[in-house]
Amino acid sequence: MTVGQRTVDESGTPARGWGLNTWDSPWLNFKFLLGVAIVSLILLFGLLGPLFWDTDLAYTGAGPLNKPPVWQEGGLPEHPLGTESNGRDMLAQLILATPSSLKVGFLAAIIGMGIGMVLGSVAGYVGGWWDHVIRTLSDSAVTIPALVVLVVIASYVQMTDTTAMALILAAFAWPGPTRLVRSQILTLRERSYVRMAHLSGAPALEIMFVEMLPNMLPWLAASLTGGISVAILGATGLEVLGLGPTRVPSLGLIINQATTNAALVRGLVWWWLPPIIILMVIFVGFFLMTIGLDEIANPRIRQFSSSRRERTAAGEAPTVVHGDGGIGGGEDAALEVDDLHVHYFTPRGEVIAANGVDFRVRKGEILGLVGESGCGKTTVAMAILQVVQAPGRIVQGAVRIEDQDLVSLSGRALREVRWRDLALVPQGAMNSLNPVTPIREQMADAILAHENVGRLELEARILGLLNDVGLPERVIDMYPHELSGGMKQRVCIAMAIALNPQVIIADEPTSALDVVVQRVVAQTLLEVKERLGVSMVMIGHDMGLQAQLVDRIAVMYAGNLVEVAPVESAFAEPLHPYTQLLIESIPSIKERKPLNVTEGLTHDLRNPPPGCIFQFRCQHVEQICRERRPELVEREDDHLVACWLYEPERHSLIELEEA
């Protein structure tokens, strides 16, 4: 089912791009930038150091032995960080060693990334036999303990310089990037804009660089920074074991010399600690870059942390204004939705996704809730079920079942009402079942959460429910992936009726299914409703399907209800111009008519205009529509509409105001 966030995106908030110059560019990630700053500082220390300090002091016999740093007793100002057992100056050694350690890391990771990009693109793009070979090779290469092989190699081959070492390390740096590039290409090539580029005949390389690379960039960068620290770790490991180049100073070599000269026992802290500190700072820098880039690449993580921040800022406890009264008596109502307001608190303002939604569902009836995508119908469903996702929140209103306001419930009290009184047939039946547990368990936990049932009775009941929706008994021990889409949806229906609830919310229950299966599922829903006498809210945008299934229909536009009417009169005599538009848009087999698309888009949901919300698309717009919001008023028998056209007094109303 559509989780609220998507509704917001569809309603006019521009999608975040990867542009580097917008003020809220995702690259302006604090962790990433901090990491970049740290690594740059270390790099500057190594590169600019020789300008300020005599690096010749890094060689044997240049100074007195075992002198502590200058701030300790016995320290000498000409050796500010002290000297070790061969009289070498520590500062000079560190200055020379730092860039060489970084160089190995960069070189190895970049070569590895290059190999990985070539192999990964071939595997992902060419596919077939190539893909099989490359994937198998990289999968097995990635499990080989690299350092062991490196150690063996290094024990035969005397590595003379850092470049040789980087080349050998690169031999182990390619499987990660290869796997990443392959999986990214497989994901991206299914995206519609890449398919479009294919169809328009763009050459493969152009698609690769123009359409795919920019989208892979944060992932590649995260893989590169991760790869650099792994390569530095590998090189340092070899150096610490004394297997790296021995004539070139390196941080690992200093640690090796310190440990083999028992610097730990002798208390020569200034010998072994500074290289470790520099290395740790380097690793922390790259680590920050990597997790920052992960957040950039994975919007969900970003959204999770930012929504938490916003929740904290807005105060965790929802301050709900509980409305009462409203239209119509509630005696025969199974579900009352009362003046419901749901807002999404985005960085760019409050998105009003439901603005005073108010309706009743009578006992035993199906109420259809329709409207175009992004109008807030799924948000209303989520609000009824009390699962509005952050950054969204119910800011006002009540949802009542048997005089109990669900909005004011929480914790155990809310859990008890859920499913027993109010169940859901979800939109995405494909993904609504837990993929790793059998159907038996998923149906059982819904029942057991509310009732104490013995094992045998439980099984009999589940089998009975499956039978009710026309599924064979063997389904009970199957996993979701073993069922077809229609079967999954029927499992969801069986689950929804398990506790004989007062109300079932059906959120576009047939939308992802093909037409034949749609009929079967709709039929199942109707049968269930007839037999149990349950009330239902059926959310959808398929007016044709709604016409056949529902008793009354509620039309929603941009977060507001604009018309609520019995289905016959809604179709025979739609009052609101938007409803008329929706009904006209139903394709007919009998006649071909031009599609009537009105100009103008929905307004920005963050600032609704004064007056009627439909004014920009309405053909009959008048002065009053721009100034005053029409109320939902009963204009005919049981037929409510929010439109000035049916207010005979509208002209005098506006004149009165002007006077």
């Binding site: 989780v3 999968d139 097995s140 499990t143 080989i144 303990p145 690299a146 350092l147 062991v148 092989v149 150690v151 063996v152 190699i153 290094a154 024990s155 035969y156 081959v157 050998i168 770790l233 490991g237 610490v240 074991l241 297997l243 640690i255 440990t259 730990l264 208390g267 072994w272 470790i276 740790m280 690793f283 922390v284 680590f287 997790i291 992960d294 994975n298 969900r300 999770f304 904290t312 699962v387 809310l414 859920r418 499913w419 859901l424 979800p426 939109q427 995405g428 993904n431 609504s432 837990n434 993929p435 790793v436 547990t437 936990d445 819904a446 959460a449 509310h450 996993y479 992936h481 073993e482």
Partner: protein, 338 residues
């Protein structure tokens, strides 16, 4: 349809063989690609030490013949594989009468014990922390505390180990710095010895666990966040299940699957890192033995250990692979629905 299918086992087994073949071949090939050969280099070094060696050329040739290095490369390769299969790596060069394999198998239990404990601890602690970090209902105070457990994540094990030795063993003198047990206890199944072994293992285990658990935590956090947005997670809430059931059966149960894959793929790196930890702590496992073999130029032991480590890693990955279908029913799914 569920559990292990023959196809899946066969496929994983081929992968297992491929990994061993790839690793061992690398060990065989790369030294031979390098200029020079071990024997000439060794004799060269000997003559440097002694100043002069009589008939150095003949010595080189006879040693090459002794090690079979005079045969054509493919013959050498087949012989090498024959030896790897029979676990016959010859005698240790530095501890002559001992066979290389004996030395290696003496060291193996220490490494296996250390690594198993460290890996299990780090994975389970990390996954727990990550799951809680990625769950919307985790209490706020816990959400604030948890990230502090990631402090040491970016630091390599062995560097942390050096600092632990300095602080805990030398400065504070709380725990022993090096070795697997003291000389004063009798090795065997007695309480003082077991206690002694455990106290010696604390620092190496802590240095691995504290530095590696953050990686699992971060990964798990991302996976939990994804599961949080899944439709089945929402439906579980609407069903009125208890938070703990949603957390375990719907959240962790699904999010842990990719984490287990990552564990299988990461074992190689874990074992690599432990070599340095053993070196720093002079822990008598395979890593430390490998290091000693290298400084004493004991090629037979080096090869034996490298092959053994590759074998053990590949076997662990294979076992994890065999376990996987029982945890994720989708993995062996075939499209033929009855």
């Amino acid at each position: 349809m569920r559990g292990l299918t023959r196809e899946y086992v066969l496929q994983r087994f081929l992968m297992y063989l491929l990994t061993i073949w790839l690793g061992s071949t690398l060990i065989f090939v790369i030294p031979r690609l390098a200029p020079g050969d071990p024997v000439s280099e060794m004799v060269g070094r000997l003559s440097l030490d002694a100043g002069y060696i009589e008939n150095a050329d003949k010595l080189i040739e006879s040693w090459k013949a002794r090690f079979g290095l005079d045969a054509p490369i493919h013959v050498q390769y087949f012989r090498y594989w024959g030896n790897v299969f029979r676990l016959n790596f010859g005698y240790s060069l530095s501890h002559f009468p001992t066979e290389a394999w004996t030395m290696v198998s003496d060291a193996l239990p220490w490494s296996l014990g250390l690594l198993t404990v460290a890996t299990v601890l780090s994975f389970s602690i990390g996954v727990t922390i990550g799951s809680l970090m990625g769950w919307r209902r985790t209490p706020r105070w816990l959400q604030l505390i948890l990230p502090s457990s990631l402090t040491f994540t970016a630091i390599p094990y062995f560097m942390f180990g050096i600092m632990l030795i300095y602080l805990v063993a030398f400065e504070l003198d709380w725990l022993p710095a090096t070795g697997a047990y003291s000389r004063r206890v009798d090795p065997g199944w007695n309480l003082p010895f077991i206690k002694n072994v455990l106290t010696h293992a604390i620092l190496p285990v802590v240095s691995i666990v504290l530095t590696s658990m953050g990686g699992w935590a971060l990964g798990m956090r991302g996976l939990m966040i994804s599961v949080n947005n899944e439709d089945y997670f929402l439906l579980a809430q609407v069903k009125g299940l208890s938070p703990s059931r949603i957390f375990f059966r719907y959240g962790v149960r699904n999010a842990i699957l990719p984490a287990l894959t990552a564990l299988a793929l990461g074992l190689g790196g874990l074992i690599s890192g432990s070599i340095l930890v053993e070196f720093i702590f002079a822990y008598p496992g395979t890593g430390y033995t490998l290091y000693q073999a290298i400084i004493s130029q004991d090629y037979t032991v080096t090869q034996a250990i490298a092959n053994l480590i590759i074998l053990v890693t590949a076997t662990s990955v294979f076992l994890l692979d065999l376990l996987y279908p029982f945890i994720d029913p989708r993995i062996t799914y075939k499209r033929d629905m009855r």
